[in-house]
Each structure stands twice: as structure tokens, then as C-alpha cells.
């Protein structure tokens, strides 16, 4: 039993932290900053760890904490270091790293329970900074552990005499009780589409994907990455691998080395007519910080908040900076659309003068020998097919006349070389041509029937304009190296060039990866991509159409109120209720006391009943019967439910006049 003090013993500012509290705090903060440590410069990680260790040393030795000036000095030096490293201290990365450091500094001035609780809250805040970088399942699991540890620390602060295992149990119970409310809030809290204000400039760096230009090496370096570009879920049968051309940005302008999108404008969307086959599917696109969306072949519908450009490219109205889900209908081989603007066609014929003379000469030769554009195209395909071209991720470097060198000398390249050369040849021969970049293929996951398209599926092909058929897709890579399109990149490229997981023999490993990714996809769709639209869809399917924030808030408060009531019921469940016999007796005593016959503490029930019967002769019989019934129920051998009910009824019906 502790000595009574006059200061309020629960005042957090008055209670000093124990070594155990410090150890818990440091441990849980270590879990939180572990992922940051991999991104921070080594010296900053080391400094933070030293600060943690220093604080623990102080606690073990019961030494006074360092002076405010020393802590301030460390902070200044660290900020200078960050400035030297990043040339700013206000960006996202330097800001977060400084916050991590401040957690260490905060510990150094943690004396009371209030400081410790504030440090724990800082820990909660640091958890969220991890999500700015990654929100994968492993990150979520690790941060779940961190939430658990920090909460146990808080429980430890509130109950210093308890053991750590019981504090952990309490924290677990609290989190378990929090889960239903968290779910309700997650689903029903009125969502607002961010951002609310401008984000730091470096907020969206590090996103991979196709770009606005294509030059030799662009796609082959992208294809080294097995990061996911998007996933597609088909209603019904998915198209065959060789037909899965996912159209991305179209390249119009060529300067001899690089293809660029050039100027573009939006047009009104008109769905194509006819078509051999339609596919309905949903795409979950990873953020790439660009406008364009990917569609299979010819899109026959337009997703929400998207427009159509003049060349049939679907573009979102805002940059895709978070994972985006959209639904599409695509048509395979629609009726030809042969109307095209003459200006556009002229643009599709432009070649830079003074480049690739041999290719220009070859194209002129084909033009001479052919009567129609189709014939020119066929000759070009035949040329590539018989040219014994090699498909490689590491093509040789090319000089000024890149197309010439590739076609006639090195004869080895990646799809951008084939597409670039073919489009150049077509334009030189007078056939309007453009380069299409995008993805080809994608792996069908056997576990959830979802096609996963990776950056390694990046591809480039061409489209030529034929007067009778409109724009027609020609894949020169498929002509030269058919295996690329039939079986995917890993079968077409020499094995030594592939990264471990892309190699064909590691099937079992890929099977595991497929399972994991099926799970990750569910995670993405149900957790990470729950946004205002999904919220509306979900509520619509529950019968709450056009729910505005008022409806949502009302629903939310109803659910939370019910949950709190359920929790309250739980909290009282394991507390003994007063004995019904005792309650009835108490009510009886109160009734008599109101008539001036108060039971004195030492008085037994028999004496009391006798005295009350004497004092209130009108109710004498009833009082005596209640007294003997109570004695029988309370002290007798057994108390029957009928007896209890009778006692309660008699007390209720007792009339004292």
C-alpha cells in the first residue's frame, strides 16, 4: 500500500516514468521507425538509435536527463545534416526523417507520464508517415504490431503496478473492441477526395511506367522491372495472350532518334460500331503520375472522369496519382472507320530529313514495286520476317542513323527498335503510320482469374492507315520474333538477360507469387482503393442510393451508438448483480422507512418485521409474512424462483396507509 500524498496521484505531469515505461516506449518506436531506417541516410538512423540508447542508459542509471541546450544542439546539428543531404528540410522525405529524429529527441526530455504519452502519440503519427511510401500487406502487418505496442505502453502508463503481459492483454482487448467501430467508420465515414492543399514537389517521384517519349532503350530498361502496371478483371472469358494489346500513349512525332506524343486535343467520344467480340472488364491501374489510361484494343465506352483524345487514347481528367479503378468495354475488330482528318494524315507521314538514307531508299523501292499501300505493308513485314532479327533486352548502341544501323547492321533490338524502324519505313514509303506504346500480354493468375500486367510487359507497335480499313495494327516485333507475342517476353529473350523470377523454369516460385498477388489484389481493391466512388457503390448496393454526407453521418452515429451500447452491455455482464431477494428486501425496508419505521443497522429481519408490524398494525399480516418469507429465502435451505417471485410481488403490493 503506498503512502498517501497530497498531489493528485493520477496527474500525468506529476508522475515520473519508470524504466519499464521507457523500455516499452523505445521498443514500440523502434518498430515504427524500422521501415524509415531503410530510406534514411545511414548517419541519421545511427543518430536516432544513439538517442534511444542514450535515453535508456539514463533510465537504467537514474541519471538526470541532459540539459535542454544539449538536446537543442543535437537537433540543430541533425537539421544541418539533413539540409546538406537534401538541400532542404521541408520536402516530404527530409521532413519525415526529421520527425523520426525528433522522436528520439522527445524521448530525451521525457520525464513525466505526460511526456511519455505525447511521445506515444508521436509514435502513432509516425506510423502514418510510413504509409506515404508503401501500403502493402507486410507494412500494414508491421504497423499493426506497432499500434499494439504503443497502446500497451499507454496502458502501462495508466496502471504502473500491473505486469507487462496483463497490459498487453488489455491493449489487445481494447483493439479487439475497437475493430467493429473502426470498420464502421472506415465504411461509413463521409469520404472527401484529397488533396486538400498542395503537396510537396517530391510527393510523386519514383513512380514507374511509360513516358511521353520513346527512344531506343526506353522500353528495354522499363521491361527490367517486374513492378505491376495494372490488373484487369474480365467478366467472362479473357482474350488470348496474343490478342491482349493494351493501348497506351500514341507517338506521332519523330526527330530521327526519339518519338514523342506531340500536340494532342480532346474529341467527343463516339462508340465504334460492329465488332467481332466485346469484352467487359475492370482495370485497377497503379499510379503512374500521367493522364493516360490503358484499354484493350478499341474502347467502346468511356470511364467516369475520362475523355477521349483525337487518336483514340483514353485520358483521365486528372493525373493518376493514386490507384485508380475503372470499368471498360472493348471491341475486337470493329467496323473500319476510314474517315480521318487530312492534317492528321499529313502528320503521320512526316519524316525528319537527312536521316537513315538506306531505309528511305528501301522504302522508295517498295513504293515503286507496289500498287497499293497494303502491298507496301506486306513487303515490309516480309522483309522483317526474313531478316533473322534478334530480340534482346540489351541492344547495341546506335548512332545517328539509328534505323539504318538497326535494320542492316546490328539486327538486334527490343520492341521499340522494331516499331520505330517500321513506322519510319512506312512513312518514308508514303503510308501514314504512328507508334503505339502500351503493354502486351500479361499473366493470368489461376487463383483469382485476374490478368496482371507488369512493366516487363511494356511493348511498342505501330498502326498504319489504310484507306479501305482505317487504322490497322501492325506489330513488327511479332513479325520478326513471333515468340514475343505468342508466349511473352521470357520465352523470346535469351535467359541470361532475365531476372530471376522471369525465368521460365521457376514455375513453383511463380505459383507462390501468383497466390500472394491474388491476396495483394484483394487488399488493393477492398482496403486501399476504398474511395468516395466505392463508398457510393457499396451504399447503393445496400439500398442507400445517393447517400450524402448527412445520411452517412446519421448512419455512422447509429452504428457507433449501437456498438457502444453493446460494449456497455459487455462491460456489465461479468459484474455480479445484486441478489433479487436482497433487492426486494431493500425495497421493503425503504417502504417502511418512508412510514417512519427505519431499520437500524444492528436489527435482524425478524426483530425489524416484528417492530414494524407493531408500529403499523393495519399491514401487520403482510409485514410479518414478508419478514418470514425473506428469512426463509435468505437463510433457508433453498430459494425457489417461485418464492422469490412471491416475495417481490408481496413487497410491490404492500400498501401502508
Amino acid at each position: 500500500m503506498s503512502v498517501a500524498l497530497s498531489a493528485h496521484p493520477f496527474a500525468p505531469e506529476a508522475r515520473l516514468v519508470s524504466t519499464r515505461d521507457v523500455a516499452w516506449l523505445i521498443g514500440s518506436l523502434l518498430i515504427v521507425i524500422a521501415p524509415h531506417a531503410t530510406r534514411a541516410p545511414w548517419w541519421l538512423t545511427l543518430l536516432t538509435l544513439c538517442l534511444f540508447g542514450w535515453r535508456f542508459y539514463f533510465s537504467l542509471n537514474r541519471a538526470p536527463l541532459p540539459s535542454k541546450w544539449l538536446v537543442l544542439g543535437v537537433a540543430m546539428v541533425a537539421m544541418l545534416g539533413v539540409w546538406i543531404e537534401y538541400r532542404t528540410i521541408f520536402g516530404r522525405q527530409p521532413g519525415i526523417l526529421l520527425l523520426m529524429l525528433f522522436a528520439g529527441l522527445k524521448l530525451l526530455e521525457t520525464r513525466s507520464h505526460r511526456d511519455a504519452a505525447a511521445a506515444a502519440f508521436l509514435g502513432y503519427f509516425l506510423i502514418v508517415t510510413n504509409f506515404l511510401y508503401t501500403q502493402t500487406i507486410p507494412t500494414a502487418a508491421l504497423m499493426g504490431v506497432a499500434v499494439f505496442a504503443i497502446s500497451a505502453t499507454l496502458v502501462g502508463l495508466a496502471a504502473p503496478q500491473r505486469t507487462s503481459p496483463s497490459n498487453l492483454r488489455t491493449a489487445g482487448l481494447l483493439l479487439a473492441h475497437a475493430a467493429p467501430a473502426a470498420l464502421a467508420l472506415f465504411l461509413l465515414f463521409p469520404r472527401v477526395q484529397g488533396p486538400l492543399w498542395g503537396l510537396p514537389q517530391d510527393a510523386y517521384t519514383g513512380m514507374t511506367g511509360l513516358s511521353e517519349t520513346m527512344s531506343p532503350g526506353t522500353l528495354s530498361s522499363l521491361a527490367q522491372s517486374d513492378a505491376i502496371a495494372f490488373r484487369a478483371e474480365f467478366e467472362g472469358e479473357a482474350p488470348l495472350q496474343r490478342l491482349r494489346y493494351w493501348r497506351g500513349p500514341l507517338m506521332w512525332d519523330f526527330d530521327g532518334r526519339t518519338w514523342t506524343i506531340g500536340s494532342s486535343f480532346l474529341v467527343n467520344f463516339e462508340p465504334p460500331k460492329g465488332g467481332r467480340q466485346t469484352h467487359r472488364y475492370a482495370v485497377v491501374l497503379e499510379p503512374h503520375n500521367r493522364h493516360w489510361l490503358f484499354a484493350l484494343e478499341t474502347a467502346a465506352s468511356l470511364p467516369e472522369r475520362a475523355r477521349m483524345s483525337f487518336d483514340g487514347q483514353i485520358v483521365a481528367t486528372s493525373l493518376v496519382r493514386s490507384r485508380l479503378r475503372y470499368e471498360l468495354v472493348s471491341v475486337i475488330a470493329p467496323d473500319p472507320d476510314t474517315a480521318e482528318d487530312p492534317g492528321t494524315l499529313r502528320r503521320a507521314l512526316r519524316v525528319p530529313p537527312g536521316y537513315n538514307p538506306r531505309a528511305v531508299a528501301l522504302a522508295a523501292e517498295w513504293r515503286e514495286a507496289s500498287r497499293t499501300d497494303e502491298e507496301v505493308v506486306e513487303r515490309a513485314i516480309g522483309f522483317l520476317r526474313q531478316g533473322r532479327y534478334v530480340y534482346t533486352l540489351e541492344p547495341p548502341l546506335l548512332g545517328r542513323h539509328g534505323v539504318d544501323e538497326f535494320l542492316f547492321e546490328t539486327r538486334a533490338g527490343f520492341c521499340e527498335h522494331y516499331a520505330s524502324a517500321f513506322a519510319f519505313l512506312m512513312r518514308a514509303a508514303g503510308v501514314p503510320a504512328r507508334v503505339v506504346t502500351g503493354y502486351q500480354g500479361g499473366a493470368l493468375n489461376a487463383f483469382d482469374n485476374i490478368i496482371t500486367v507488369r512493366q516487363s510487359d511494356a511493348h511498342a507497335w505501330t498502326e498504319v492507315f489504310l484507306r479501305s480499313r482505317g487504322w490497322v495494327r501492325i506489330d513488327p516485333t511479332a513479325a520478326a520474333v513471333p515468340r514475343r507475342v505468342e508466349a511473352g517476353l521470357s520465352r523470346a529473350v535469351p535467359e541470361a538477360e532475365l531476372r530471376a523470377l522471369m525465368r521460365p523454369e521457376l514455375e513453383w516460385l511463380r505459383g507462390m507469387r501468383d497466390q500472394w498477388e491474388a491476396l495483394a489484389h484483394k487488399w488493393n481493391v477492398w482496403v486501399l482503393d476504398y474511395n468516395p466512388e466505392r463508398q457510393r457503390d457499396l451504399l447503393g448496393s445496400l439500398g442507400m442510393r445517393d447517400a450524402d454526407w448527412r445520411t452517412l453521418t446519421a448512419a455512422l452515429f447509429t452504428v457507433l451508438g449501437l456498438m457502444t451500447l453493446a460494449l456497455l452491455a459487455w462491460s456489465l455482464r461479468r459484474i455480479k448483480r445484486p441478489d433479487p431477494v436482497q433487492r426486494a428486501w431493500r425495497a421493503f425496508c425503504l417502504k417502511l422507512a418512508a412510514r417512519g419505521v427505519e431499520r437500524s443497522p444492528h436489527e435482524g429481519p425478524r426483530d425489524y418485521a416484528a417492530r414494524a408490524a407493531r408500529a403499523l398494525p393495519a399491514a401487520r399480516r403482510a409485514i410479518l409474512r414478508i419478514g418470514s418469507l425473506y428469512i426463509g429465502l435468505r437463510y433457508g435451505a433453498q430459494a425457489s424462483a417461485a418464492g422469490i417471485a412471491r416475495l417481490r410481488r408481496m413487497v410491490r403490493e404492500l400498501r401502508l396507509t
Binding site: 500525468p12 504519452a117 502514418v128 497502446s151 484529397g194 482496403v527 461479468r574 445484486p578
Partner: protein
């Protein structure tokens, strides 16, 4: 401000607190009597949640939302847990041993958890004196709280209002309840050390009926009784025989010391006269003499032993000057 308002309107205060003091028997802290508000730490936690929410909206962080809502749910669950920690505790007051004015009365409260779970970190605080104690109630067990309340003046000291408070498990909420059990402690006058009244002619009023002390005839030995003064133990005989023996004097039956209110001048004042009488009573008790007490309107026949001393001191503690 609210405190003073409640002090001026006791009926309103009773309605607010949910009971009418003092409360007899066992007091159960039903929900009506348990209040709960966020602590300063709780408000800080709320501010953290708001910042987390804004950050999650701004950066469209789904896991940020998950974290924010999980913590919000934890705060809500914590509130219920805090209320539960105090809910339906049965409080009963134990006996408080009499003390002398100037000492501390030791009030005992028994907190019966009446639950299958433990109730850690419960503070019992005596509001008037600030005496307080933190206890843990184990599952299904009873915890004893001893509140040391300073007793400044003689008479009955009522325990008064006691606050039970808890902030377990997270420290974000503070739940408390007031009780005012019917517990009181008898406070004797502060005893003043002074020599026993002299055996003089004043004794004519009856303070001393034997001739002179010490001249009593030694009459023999008898068996020792617990109430016998150590000065009357026949130590030589004890050393010889090993049995505790007490010397008996023939004059003893008559040797009665009357501690009389009238012996003390009115100049001393009531309290000081009572203090001196209390001091005499203790001294006489130590000496082992028979003594009686005479106060205006009260007379306690001569006697000795703990019960007699208690009766005398109680009479002194509760003495009211007649006509006042």
C-alpha cells in the same frame, strides 16, 4: 464556482451527486453516480486523431484512414473500459478506532469489486483533507483503503465525501464517483500532560478518600490481572516463583481518585480543562489507581481498566457544557 454553488444548495448537490448523505450500509456505484470526462491527455489524443484524419484525406492514404479509425474506436472502447473499472463497486465503511485530537483518524473503506475481472488503479481521495490512496482490486476480491484524516477537534468526526476515481486503461478518460458513507470516528480531547491532582485538603470535595497514599497496609499477594498496574506487580515474588503476582493493599478499596471538573479553574477554558482531565485520566490509568470522573451533568463511578478509560475519554470527547 460550481463547488461553491453546490455547497450552498445541498439539496441540489444531492440531486447532482445522486445520493443523500450519509449513506448507510453498502453503497453500490451504479451508472447514475459514475461520471466520465476526457482528461487533458484525452483531448491531446483527439487532436492527434484530427491531424491523422486530415493527413489521410490529403494524401488519400487508405491505411491512414484505417489507423485513424482504429484509434478512434480504441478511444471509444477505452471510455467504456474506464467506466467499467468503477461500475457497480460496492463500498462499505469499516470501524475507525478512536484517536486523540491532533492525530489522524484511520478510516477504513472496503471496495468490493464484485466482478470476475480485475479493477486496477483506483484512487480513493478524501476531499476535505486530501488524504488519498491508489488500490488495485483483484478479480472477485475486496480491497481495503485506509484514509488518514486529520482529527483536529474532539467529538465525532464524520468521514465526509470521498471521491473514487480511475483513468485506467488508457488515461484518456477520467471516471469518478462521490460517496459519503456513514462512517465516524470518536476523537478524544488532546491529553495534556500534567501531574495528577495533589492529595490535599481540596480532597474534601471527595477527590481523595484515603488518608495518605503509600501508607496503605500491605495485605498480601494475589494473581495478576491484565488490568493491574505494573507498579503493583510484586517483582521480587515474580523473580522467585515465576508467576505474575500483584501486591494488594488494604486501603485500596477506599483510595479513589476523583477527576473533577470543579478542580480546574474556569480561567482555563472548556477545552483546556477537558484536555487536562484527559491527561489525568491517562496518568491515573497508567498509575493503576481507581479513578472516577465528574463533569457537570456527568459522573462516572470510579473504576479501572481499558473499558473504564474509554468511557471516561468518551465522556470528555462528547462533553457539552450544560446550558450552552
Amino acid at each position: 464556482m460550481i463547488e461553491s454553488l453546490l455547497a450552498r444548495a445541498p439539496r441540489f448537490a444531492n440531486w447532482v451527486y445522486g445520493f443523500t448523505p450519509p449513506e448507510r450500509g453498502t453503497v453500490v456505484l451504479v451508472h447514475r453516480r459514475v461520471y466520465i470526462v476526457p482528461t487533458r491527455l484525452g483531448w491531446l489524443f483527439g487532436a492527434t486523431l484530427v491531424i491523422l484524419l486530415i493527413g489521410s484525406i490529403n494524401y488519400a492514404l487508405s491505411l491512414g484512414f484505417v489507423l485513424t479509425f482504429l484509434l478512434a474506436g480504441m478511444g471509444l472502447a477505452g471510455m467504456v473500459h474506464t467506466a467499467r473499472n468503477l461500475a457497480r463497486i460496492a463500498v462499505s465503511a469499516g470501524r475507525a478506532e478512536p484517536v486523540y485530537a491532533g492525530e489522524s483518524a484511520q478510516f477504513r473503506l472496503y471496495l468490493d469489486g464484485r466482478a470476475a475481472f480485475e479493477r486496477p488503479a483506483i484512487l480513493a481521495r478524501h476531499l476535505r483533507s486530501g488524504a488519498q490512496l491508489v488500490v488495485d482490486i483483484a478479480p472477485g476480491a475486496l480491497a481495503e483503503v485506509v484514509l488518514a484524516v486529520p482529527a483536529s477537534s474532539r467529538g465525532w468526526l464524520a468521514l465526509g465525501r470521498v471521491m473514487l476515481e480511475t483513468r485506467f486503461p488508457l488515461g484518456l478518460f477520467r471516471a469518478w464517483s462521490y460517496i459519503e458513507p456513514d462512517a465516524r470516528c470518536l476523537v478524544y480531547p488532546r491529553p495534556e500532560r500534567s501531574p495528577l491532582p495533589p492529595y490535599t485538603a481540596e480532597a474534601a470535595s471527595g477527590a481523595m478518600r484515603s488518608p495518605t497514599p503509600g501508607n496503605d497496609d500491605f495485605a498480601g499477594l494475589r494473581g495478576y490481572q491484565l488490568s493491574d498496574s505494573p507498579r503493583h506487580v510484586a517483582w521480587k515474588a515474580v523473580a522467585r516463583s515465576g508467576d505474575m503476582l500483584t501486591k494488594q493493599f488494604t486501603g485500596e478499596a477506599a483510595a479513589q481518585l476523583w477527576l473533577d471538573w470543579a478542580l480546574l479553574g474556569a480561567a482555563l477554558g472548556v477545552e483546556q480543562r477537558l484536555s487536562r482531565l484527559a491527561g489525568w485520566a491517562l496518568a491515573a490509568d497508567r498509575a493503576g489507581t481507581l479513578y472516577g470522573l465528574r463533569l457537570p451533568g456527568v459522573e462516572i463511578a470510579p473504576g479501572r481498566g481499558d473499558a473504564h478509560r474509554g468511557a471516561c475519554l468518551q465522556a470528555l470527547a462528547l462533553f457539552q457544557e450544560p446550558g450552552k
